[in-house]
Protein backbone atom coordinates (compact mmCIF):
# COMPACT_ATOMS: atom_id res chain seq x y z
CA UNK A 1 0.00 0.00 0.00
CA UNK A 2 1.27 3.51 -0.76
CA UNK A 3 2.45 5.43 2.27
CA UNK A 4 1.68 9.07 2.77
CA UNK A 5 4.64 11.21 1.70
CA UNK A 6 7.24 8.44 1.44
CA UNK A 7 8.78 9.10 4.81
CA UNK A 8 10.38 6.57 7.12
CA UNK A 9 7.87 5.07 9.54
CA UNK A 10 8.40 6.62 12.97
CA UNK A 11 9.02 4.28 15.89
CA UNK A 12 7.69 6.06 18.97
CA UNK A 13 7.98 4.89 22.58
CA UNK A 14 4.90 5.95 24.51
CA UNK A 15 5.34 6.58 28.23
CA UNK A 16 2.34 6.65 30.55
CA UNK A 17 3.07 8.70 33.64
CA UNK A 18 1.22 8.76 36.92
CA UNK A 19 2.33 10.79 39.92
CA UNK A 20 5.75 11.24 38.38
CA UNK A 21 6.54 7.61 37.66
CA UNK A 22 6.37 5.54 34.51
CA UNK A 23 3.45 3.12 34.68
CA UNK A 24 1.94 0.52 32.43
CA UNK A 25 -1.46 -1.10 32.57
CA UNK A 26 -3.73 -3.35 30.56
CA UNK A 27 -6.65 -1.77 28.70
CA UNK A 28 -5.50 1.44 30.40
CA UNK A 29 -6.30 -0.12 33.81
CA UNK A 30 -4.37 -1.92 36.56
CA UNK A 31 -1.30 0.30 36.44
CA UNK A 32 2.07 -1.03 37.51
CA UNK A 33 5.01 1.17 38.43
CA UNK A 34 7.97 0.60 36.09
CA UNK A 35 10.45 3.36 36.85
CA UNK A 36 11.63 6.91 36.29
CA UNK A 37 10.22 8.33 33.02
CA UNK A 38 13.15 10.57 32.07
CA UNK A 39 15.61 7.66 32.37
CA UNK A 40 13.54 5.61 29.95
CA UNK A 41 13.17 8.59 27.60
CA UNK A 42 16.92 9.22 27.52
CA UNK A 43 17.60 5.54 26.90
CA UNK A 44 15.08 5.48 24.04
CA UNK A 45 16.62 8.59 22.48
CA UNK A 46 20.09 7.10 22.66
CA UNK A 47 19.00 3.80 21.13
CA UNK A 48 17.24 5.31 18.11
CA UNK A 49 13.64 6.31 18.91
CA UNK A 50 12.24 8.76 16.35
CA UNK A 51 10.06 10.63 18.80
CA UNK A 52 8.77 10.24 22.37
CA UNK A 53 5.23 10.58 23.71
CA UNK A 54 4.51 11.34 27.37
CA UNK A 55 0.94 10.91 28.60
CA UNK A 56 -0.13 11.85 32.11
CA UNK A 57 -2.58 9.10 32.94
CA UNK A 58 -4.70 10.66 35.60
CA UNK A 59 -4.42 14.32 34.67
CA UNK A 60 -7.96 14.71 33.36
CA UNK A 61 -9.46 12.72 36.20
CA UNK A 62 -7.82 14.80 38.91
CA UNK A 63 -7.88 18.04 36.95
CA UNK A 64 -4.15 18.51 37.28
CA UNK A 65 -1.17 18.32 35.06
CA UNK A 66 2.26 18.20 36.60
CA UNK A 67 4.15 17.11 33.54
CA UNK A 68 6.16 20.35 33.13
CA UNK A 69 8.85 19.18 35.52
CA UNK A 70 9.41 15.90 33.65
CA UNK A 71 9.33 17.57 30.27
CA UNK A 72 12.15 19.93 31.22
CA UNK A 73 14.23 17.14 32.75
CA UNK A 74 13.70 15.08 29.60
CA UNK A 75 14.19 17.80 26.99
CA UNK A 76 17.62 18.55 28.45
CA UNK A 77 19.00 15.26 27.13
CA UNK A 78 16.59 14.18 24.43
CA UNK A 79 17.09 15.75 20.98
CA UNK A 80 14.17 14.23 19.15
CA UNK A 81 10.57 15.50 19.14
CA UNK A 82 8.75 15.21 22.44
CA UNK A 83 4.95 15.06 22.39
CA UNK A 84 3.07 15.55 25.63
CA UNK A 85 -0.52 14.94 26.64
CA UNK A 86 -2.89 14.44 29.52
CA UNK A 87 -5.29 16.94 31.03
CA UNK A 88 -4.55 19.76 28.59
CA UNK A 89 -7.59 22.01 28.67
CA UNK A 90 -6.63 25.55 27.77
CA UNK A 91 -4.31 27.58 25.58
CA UNK A 92 -2.43 28.38 28.73
CA UNK A 93 -1.87 24.68 29.47
CA UNK A 94 -0.46 24.30 25.96
CA UNK A 95 1.83 27.28 26.46
CA UNK A 96 3.13 25.72 29.70
CA UNK A 97 3.95 22.48 27.90
CA UNK A 98 5.86 24.26 25.13
CA UNK A 99 7.67 26.43 27.64
CA UNK A 100 8.81 23.35 29.52
CA UNK A 101 10.30 21.91 26.31
CA UNK A 102 7.52 19.96 24.58
CA UNK A 103 7.37 20.10 20.78
CA UNK A 104 3.83 18.88 20.33
CA UNK A 105 0.83 18.55 22.59
CA UNK A 106 -1.68 15.71 22.46
CA UNK A 107 -5.30 16.51 23.23
CA UNK A 108 -8.32 14.29 23.75
CA UNK A 109 -10.89 14.95 26.47
CA UNK A 110 -11.09 18.74 26.28
CA UNK A 111 -11.89 18.78 22.57
CA UNK A 112 -14.56 16.12 22.93
CA UNK A 113 -16.24 18.59 25.28
CA UNK A 114 -15.83 21.36 22.73
CA UNK A 115 -14.19 20.80 19.35
CA UNK A 116 -13.79 24.56 18.91
CA UNK A 117 -10.98 24.33 21.47
CA UNK A 118 -9.01 22.43 18.87
CA UNK A 119 -9.55 25.08 16.23
CA UNK A 120 -8.33 27.76 18.63
CA UNK A 121 -5.23 25.79 19.61
CA UNK A 122 -4.35 25.06 15.97
CA UNK A 123 -4.69 28.74 15.05
CA UNK A 124 -2.45 29.96 17.84
CA UNK A 125 0.19 27.24 17.87
CA UNK A 126 -0.03 25.84 14.34
CA UNK A 127 -1.68 22.57 13.34
CA UNK A 128 1.61 20.76 13.11
CA UNK A 129 2.15 21.16 16.85
CA UNK A 130 -1.25 19.85 17.87
CA UNK A 131 -1.92 16.09 17.88
CA UNK A 132 -5.25 14.52 18.73
CA UNK A 133 -5.53 11.25 20.62
CA UNK A 134 -8.52 9.09 19.79
CA UNK A 135 -9.16 6.30 22.27
CA UNK A 136 -11.41 3.79 20.56
CA UNK A 137 -13.38 1.12 22.42
CA UNK A 138 -15.20 -1.74 20.72
CA UNK A 139 -18.27 -3.07 22.51
CA UNK A 140 -20.35 -5.82 20.92
CA UNK A 141 -18.96 -5.04 17.51
CA UNK A 142 -19.62 -1.31 17.74
CA UNK A 143 -16.87 1.32 18.07
CA UNK A 144 -17.03 4.26 20.48
CA UNK A 145 -14.52 6.88 21.51
CA UNK A 146 -13.63 7.64 25.11
CA UNK A 147 -12.57 10.42 27.44
CA UNK A 148 -10.42 10.53 30.57
CA UNK A 149 -8.25 7.62 29.48
CA UNK A 150 -11.05 5.15 28.91
CA UNK A 151 -13.24 6.12 31.81
CA UNK A 152 -16.09 7.80 29.92
CA UNK A 153 -17.65 6.31 26.83
CA UNK A 154 -18.77 8.73 24.12
CA UNK A 155 -21.23 7.68 21.44
CA UNK A 156 -19.18 8.81 18.44
CA UNK A 157 -17.66 6.71 15.70
CA UNK A 158 -13.82 6.95 15.70
CA UNK A 159 -13.64 7.42 11.92
CA UNK A 160 -16.19 10.25 11.88
CA UNK A 161 -14.41 11.84 14.82
CA UNK A 162 -11.05 11.55 13.02
CA UNK A 163 -12.41 13.41 10.00
CA UNK A 164 -13.91 16.05 12.24
CA UNK A 165 -10.68 16.74 14.14
CA UNK A 166 -8.83 16.93 10.82
CA UNK A 167 -11.29 19.60 9.69
CA UNK A 168 -10.79 21.50 12.93
CA UNK A 169 -7.02 21.67 12.51
CA UNK A 170 -5.45 18.58 14.07
CA UNK A 171 -1.92 18.04 12.74
CA UNK A 172 -1.79 14.36 13.51
CA UNK A 173 -3.92 11.58 15.04
CA UNK A 174 -2.83 8.97 17.56
CA UNK A 175 -5.34 6.15 17.42
CA UNK A 176 -5.41 3.96 20.54
CA UNK A 177 -7.35 0.73 20.67
CA UNK A 178 -8.33 0.41 24.30
CA UNK A 179 -9.40 -3.20 23.76
CA UNK A 180 -5.93 -4.16 22.56
CA UNK A 181 -3.91 -1.81 24.75
CA UNK A 182 -1.42 -3.55 27.08
CA UNK A 183 -2.40 -7.07 25.95
CA UNK A 184 0.52 -7.47 23.52
CA UNK A 185 -1.71 -9.43 21.11
CA UNK A 186 -1.35 -7.15 18.11
CA UNK A 187 -2.95 -3.90 16.92
CA UNK A 188 -6.55 -3.42 15.84
CA UNK A 189 -5.79 -3.41 12.13
CA UNK A 190 -9.33 -2.76 10.91
CA UNK A 191 -9.74 0.27 13.16
CA UNK A 192 -6.37 1.68 12.12
CA UNK A 193 -7.09 1.09 8.42
CA UNK A 194 -10.39 2.87 8.78
CA UNK A 195 -8.80 5.94 10.33
CA UNK A 196 -5.66 6.12 8.18
CA UNK A 197 -7.68 5.73 4.97
CA UNK A 198 -10.08 8.52 5.79
CA UNK A 199 -7.72 11.39 6.73
CA UNK A 200 -4.79 13.07 4.99
CA UNK A 201 -2.90 13.99 8.14
CA UNK A 202 -0.42 11.51 9.64
CA UNK A 203 -1.85 8.72 11.79
CA UNK A 204 0.06 6.96 14.58
CA UNK A 205 -1.13 3.48 15.64
CA UNK A 206 -1.13 2.62 19.34
CA UNK A 207 -2.25 -0.33 21.43
CA UNK A 208 -1.27 -3.95 21.19
CA UNK A 209 2.33 -4.24 19.98
CA UNK A 210 3.49 -7.55 21.43
CA UNK A 211 6.26 -8.52 19.06
CA UNK A 212 8.08 -7.34 15.93
CA UNK A 213 5.61 -9.12 13.65
CA UNK A 214 2.71 -7.12 15.08
CA UNK A 215 4.55 -3.90 14.25
CA UNK A 216 5.37 -5.08 10.73
CA UNK A 217 1.76 -6.12 10.13
CA UNK A 218 0.25 -2.78 11.13
CA UNK A 219 2.78 -0.92 8.96
CA UNK A 220 2.14 -3.14 5.94
CA UNK A 221 -1.64 -3.23 6.15
CA UNK A 222 -2.45 0.41 6.90
CA UNK A 223 -1.37 3.91 5.83
CA UNK A 224 0.09 4.92 9.17
CA UNK A 225 3.08 7.26 9.57
CA UNK A 226 4.25 5.88 12.88
CA UNK A 227 3.83 3.25 15.56
CA UNK A 228 3.55 4.03 19.27
CA UNK A 229 4.91 1.25 21.46
CA UNK A 230 4.83 0.91 25.24
CA UNK A 231 4.94 -2.56 26.90
CA UNK A 232 7.13 -4.17 24.25
CA UNK A 233 9.81 -1.51 24.85
CA UNK A 234 9.38 -0.80 28.56
CA UNK A 235 9.61 -4.40 29.76
CA UNK A 236 12.89 -4.76 27.88
CA UNK A 237 14.33 -1.33 28.67
CA UNK A 238 13.70 -1.86 32.38
CA UNK A 239 16.77 -4.14 32.46
CA UNK A 240 19.04 -1.16 31.87
CA UNK A 241 18.28 0.64 35.09
CA UNK A 242 18.83 -0.01 38.74
CA UNK A 243 15.54 -0.44 40.54
CA UNK A 244 13.77 2.79 41.43
CA UNK A 245 12.29 3.24 44.82
CA UNK A 246 8.88 4.75 44.15
CA UNK A 247 6.91 5.65 47.23
CA UNK A 248 3.49 5.41 45.65
CA UNK A 249 1.48 3.22 43.33
CA UNK A 250 1.48 -0.49 42.66
CA UNK A 251 5.15 -1.33 43.25
CA UNK A 252 4.71 -5.06 43.64
CA UNK A 253 5.93 -5.79 40.13
CA UNK A 254 9.02 -3.64 40.24
CA UNK A 255 10.04 -4.78 43.71
CA UNK A 256 9.95 -8.44 42.70
CA UNK A 257 11.47 -7.94 39.27
CA UNK A 258 14.72 -9.76 38.44
CA UNK A 259 16.93 -7.67 36.16
CA UNK A 260 17.85 -9.63 33.02
CA UNK A 261 20.54 -9.12 30.43
CA UNK A 262 19.26 -6.33 28.26
CA UNK A 263 18.66 -6.37 24.51
CA UNK A 264 18.71 -3.19 22.46
CA UNK A 265 15.03 -3.43 21.65
CA UNK A 266 14.57 -0.37 19.42
CA UNK A 267 17.67 -1.14 17.38
CA UNK A 268 16.56 -4.77 17.01
CA UNK A 269 13.05 -3.75 15.92
CA UNK A 270 14.42 -1.26 13.40
CA UNK A 271 16.82 -3.79 11.94
CA UNK A 272 13.99 -6.30 11.64
CA UNK A 273 11.74 -3.80 9.83
CA UNK A 274 14.50 -2.74 7.45
CA UNK A 275 15.12 -6.40 6.59
CA UNK A 276 11.43 -6.66 5.75
CA UNK A 277 11.71 -3.76 3.33
CA UNK A 278 10.21 -0.97 5.45
CA UNK A 279 11.79 2.49 5.28
CA UNK A 280 13.10 3.26 8.74
CA UNK A 281 15.43 5.97 10.05
CA UNK A 282 18.74 4.69 11.34
Amino acid sequence: MMKKNNKPIRIIPLLDIKNGVLVKGINLEGLRVLGIPEKFAKYYYQTGADEIIYIDNVATLYGTNNLSEFISKTAKHVFIPLAVGGGIKSLNDIKEMFKAGADKVCINSSIIDNVKNLEKAAKVYGSSNISVIIQAIKIQGKYYISKSNGRDLINKNPKDWAKKVEDYGAGEIIITSINNEGLKNGFDIKLTQNISNSVKIPVIAHGGAGNFKDVLRIIKQTKISGVAVASLFHYEAINNFSKPNPKIGNTNFINNYQIKKSKNIIKDLKEYLIKKGIEIRT
Binding site: N5, N6, K7, P8, R10, Y45, G48, D50, S72, A75, K76, H77, F79, I80, P81, F98, K99, A100, G101, A102, D103, Y125, G126, S127, S128, N129, G171, E172, K200, I201, P202, S225, G226, R281
Partner: protein, 209 residues
Protein backbone atom coordinates in the same frame (compact mmCIF):
# COMPACT_ATOMS: atom_id res chain seq x y z
CA UNK B 1 40.87 27.60 21.93
CA UNK B 2 37.96 29.57 23.26
CA UNK B 3 34.51 28.21 22.71
CA UNK B 4 32.48 29.43 19.76
CA UNK B 5 29.73 31.73 21.01
CA UNK B 6 26.12 31.46 19.80
CA UNK B 7 23.51 34.11 20.48
CA UNK B 8 19.91 32.96 20.16
CA UNK B 9 17.33 35.57 19.21
CA UNK B 10 14.23 35.32 21.37
CA UNK B 11 11.10 35.75 19.25
CA UNK B 12 9.01 35.27 22.36
CA UNK B 13 6.57 33.01 20.52
CA UNK B 14 8.32 29.72 20.88
CA UNK B 15 10.23 27.66 23.34
CA UNK B 16 13.97 28.08 23.18
CA UNK B 17 14.64 25.30 25.63
CA UNK B 18 15.47 22.60 23.06
CA UNK B 19 17.63 24.75 20.80
CA UNK B 20 19.56 26.12 23.76
CA UNK B 21 20.22 22.63 25.16
CA UNK B 22 21.14 21.27 21.72
CA UNK B 23 23.70 24.07 21.16
CA UNK B 24 25.19 23.30 24.57
CA UNK B 25 25.29 19.61 23.68
CA UNK B 26 27.11 20.57 20.46
CA UNK B 27 29.76 22.31 22.54
CA UNK B 28 28.90 25.97 22.05
CA UNK B 29 28.79 28.75 24.55
CA UNK B 30 25.14 29.85 24.42
CA UNK B 31 23.28 33.01 25.30
CA UNK B 32 19.61 33.84 24.84
CA UNK B 33 19.57 37.42 23.60
CA UNK B 34 17.33 39.85 25.44
CA UNK B 35 15.72 42.97 24.02
CA UNK B 36 18.11 45.33 25.76
CA UNK B 37 21.20 44.15 23.91
CA UNK B 38 22.16 46.94 21.49
CA UNK B 39 24.91 45.20 19.54
CA UNK B 40 25.26 41.57 18.74
CA UNK B 41 28.71 40.17 19.42
CA UNK B 42 28.56 36.46 18.59
CA UNK B 43 30.37 34.01 16.35
CA UNK B 44 26.98 32.68 15.29
CA UNK B 45 23.68 34.53 15.48
CA UNK B 46 20.82 32.07 15.55
CA UNK B 47 17.26 32.88 14.50
CA UNK B 48 15.06 29.99 15.64
CA UNK B 49 11.40 29.76 14.99
CA UNK B 50 8.22 27.88 15.49
CA UNK B 51 4.99 29.69 14.79
CA UNK B 52 3.46 32.07 12.30
CA UNK B 53 5.49 34.24 9.92
CA UNK B 54 3.47 37.37 10.68
CA UNK B 55 3.93 37.24 14.44
CA UNK B 56 7.62 36.50 13.95
CA UNK B 57 8.34 39.45 11.69
CA UNK B 58 6.17 41.82 13.73
CA UNK B 59 8.16 40.96 16.82
CA UNK B 60 11.50 41.48 15.04
CA UNK B 61 10.44 44.89 13.75
CA UNK B 62 8.78 46.05 16.93
CA UNK B 63 11.97 45.47 18.89
CA UNK B 64 14.31 46.74 16.19
CA UNK B 65 15.91 43.32 15.90
CA UNK B 66 15.78 43.50 12.08
CA UNK B 67 18.16 46.48 12.15
CA UNK B 68 20.41 44.86 14.72
CA UNK B 69 20.69 41.80 12.47
CA UNK B 70 21.64 44.07 9.53
CA UNK B 71 24.35 45.72 11.61
CA UNK B 72 25.62 42.37 12.80
CA UNK B 73 25.95 41.09 9.21
CA UNK B 74 28.34 43.94 8.33
CA UNK B 75 30.81 42.71 10.89
CA UNK B 76 33.65 40.52 9.62
CA UNK B 77 33.24 36.82 10.41
CA UNK B 78 29.57 37.18 11.23
CA UNK B 79 27.35 34.17 10.61
CA UNK B 80 23.56 34.22 10.69
CA UNK B 81 21.71 30.91 10.92
CA UNK B 82 17.91 30.63 10.62
CA UNK B 83 16.03 27.47 11.55
CA UNK B 84 12.57 26.61 10.18
CA UNK B 85 10.51 29.82 10.51
CA UNK B 86 13.85 31.53 11.20
CA UNK B 87 15.01 30.46 7.72
CA UNK B 88 11.75 31.61 6.12
CA UNK B 89 12.06 35.03 7.78
CA UNK B 90 15.31 35.62 5.88
CA UNK B 91 13.35 35.94 2.62
CA UNK B 92 11.41 38.79 0.99
CA UNK B 93 7.85 37.81 1.80
CA UNK B 94 5.46 35.04 2.77
CA UNK B 95 1.88 34.32 1.81
CA UNK B 96 1.04 32.68 5.15
CA UNK B 97 -2.48 33.98 6.01
CA UNK B 98 -1.82 37.25 4.16
CA UNK B 99 1.27 38.55 2.41
CA UNK B 100 3.88 39.67 4.89
CA UNK B 101 7.26 41.18 4.20
CA UNK B 102 10.27 39.38 5.62
CA UNK B 103 13.83 40.45 6.47
CA UNK B 104 14.73 40.59 2.73
CA UNK B 105 18.21 39.17 3.26
CA UNK B 106 17.74 36.56 0.52
CA UNK B 107 15.61 37.16 -2.58
CA UNK B 108 12.60 34.90 -2.83
CA UNK B 109 9.20 34.06 -1.44
CA UNK B 110 7.87 31.70 1.19
CA UNK B 111 5.02 29.61 -0.18
CA UNK B 112 2.91 26.69 0.98
CA UNK B 113 2.96 23.17 -0.32
CA UNK B 114 -0.31 23.20 -2.18
CA UNK B 115 -1.21 26.55 -3.60
CA UNK B 116 -3.13 24.83 -6.38
CA UNK B 117 -5.65 22.93 -4.28
CA UNK B 118 -7.23 23.51 -0.91
CA UNK B 119 -5.78 20.48 0.79
CA UNK B 120 -3.86 21.20 3.91
CA UNK B 121 -0.56 19.49 3.69
CA UNK B 122 1.93 19.56 6.50
CA UNK B 123 5.37 18.08 6.15
CA UNK B 124 5.96 16.25 9.43
CA UNK B 125 8.64 13.66 9.93
CA UNK B 126 12.15 12.66 8.96
CA UNK B 127 13.67 13.34 5.55
CA UNK B 128 17.06 13.45 3.90
CA UNK B 129 18.50 16.27 1.81
CA UNK B 130 20.41 16.34 -1.48
CA UNK B 131 23.21 18.84 -1.82
CA UNK B 132 23.41 20.94 -4.94
CA UNK B 133 26.45 19.82 -6.98
CA UNK B 134 28.04 23.27 -6.82
CA UNK B 135 28.29 23.00 -3.06
CA UNK B 136 29.74 19.54 -2.89
CA UNK B 137 32.07 19.29 0.09
CA UNK B 138 33.36 16.10 1.59
CA UNK B 139 32.65 16.86 5.24
CA UNK B 140 29.21 18.16 4.35
CA UNK B 141 28.06 15.48 1.96
CA UNK B 142 28.37 12.82 4.63
CA UNK B 143 25.17 14.30 6.11
CA UNK B 144 23.25 13.32 2.98
CA UNK B 145 22.78 9.81 4.33
CA UNK B 146 21.23 11.08 7.58
CA UNK B 147 17.60 11.90 8.27
CA UNK B 148 16.60 15.28 9.69
CA UNK B 149 13.37 16.31 11.38
CA UNK B 150 10.95 18.55 9.49
CA UNK B 151 7.72 20.10 10.69
CA UNK B 152 6.26 22.83 8.47
CA UNK B 153 3.64 23.62 5.87
CA UNK B 154 5.45 26.55 4.19
CA UNK B 155 8.85 26.59 2.51
CA UNK B 156 11.22 29.15 1.02
CA UNK B 157 11.65 29.40 -2.73
CA UNK B 158 14.87 31.35 -3.47
CA UNK B 159 14.75 33.44 -6.63
CA UNK B 160 18.44 32.94 -7.36
CA UNK B 161 19.00 29.19 -7.54
CA UNK B 162 22.56 29.77 -6.34
CA UNK B 163 21.07 30.31 -2.92
CA UNK B 164 19.76 26.75 -2.82
CA UNK B 165 22.36 24.67 -1.06
CA UNK B 166 20.26 21.52 -0.67
CA UNK B 167 16.78 20.23 -1.46
CA UNK B 168 14.44 17.72 0.16
CA UNK B 169 11.40 15.91 -1.11
CA UNK B 170 7.88 16.19 0.28
CA UNK B 171 5.39 14.24 -1.79
CA UNK B 172 6.26 15.32 -5.30
CA UNK B 173 7.67 18.69 -4.34
CA UNK B 174 11.43 19.10 -4.22
CA UNK B 175 11.86 22.15 -2.00
CA UNK B 176 14.82 24.14 -0.72
CA UNK B 177 15.75 22.66 2.67
CA UNK B 178 19.08 24.46 3.10
CA UNK B 179 19.73 28.00 1.89
CA UNK B 180 22.91 30.00 1.82
CA UNK B 181 23.95 33.45 0.73
CA UNK B 182 27.36 34.71 1.77
CA UNK B 183 27.38 34.61 5.57
CA UNK B 184 23.67 33.84 5.81
CA UNK B 185 22.57 30.25 6.27
CA UNK B 186 19.24 28.55 6.90
CA UNK B 187 17.77 25.08 7.33
CA UNK B 188 14.09 24.19 7.06
CA UNK B 189 14.66 21.18 9.33
CA UNK B 190 15.32 21.29 13.05
CA UNK B 191 18.83 20.06 13.88
CA UNK B 192 17.95 20.38 17.57
CA UNK B 193 15.30 17.68 17.06
CA UNK B 194 17.21 15.51 14.63
CA UNK B 195 18.89 13.20 17.11
CA UNK B 196 22.61 12.58 17.03
CA UNK B 197 22.99 13.63 13.38
CA UNK B 198 21.35 16.94 14.27
CA UNK B 199 23.85 17.62 17.06
CA UNK B 200 26.69 16.65 14.70
CA UNK B 201 25.29 19.03 12.07
CA UNK B 202 25.12 21.88 14.61
CA UNK B 203 28.77 21.27 15.50
CA UNK B 204 29.77 21.62 11.86
CA UNK B 205 27.62 24.47 10.57
CA UNK B 206 30.44 26.97 10.36
CA UNK B 207 32.58 24.57 8.38
CA UNK B 208 29.80 23.87 5.94
CA UNK B 209 30.04 27.04 3.93
Amino acid sequence: MTKCKIGIINLNINNLFSIEKACLEAGYKVKIIDDKEKKYDYDILLLPGVGAFSSGIEFLKKHGIDEKIQNYLHKPKSFLYGICLGMQLLFDSSNEFKTNKGLKLIEGKVINFTKQNKEKIINIGWSKFNINDNYYKKNFSKFEKNYFYFIHSFYADPLDKKNILAKSLHGKINFCSITKKKNIFGTQFHPEKSGKSGIEFLKKIKELI
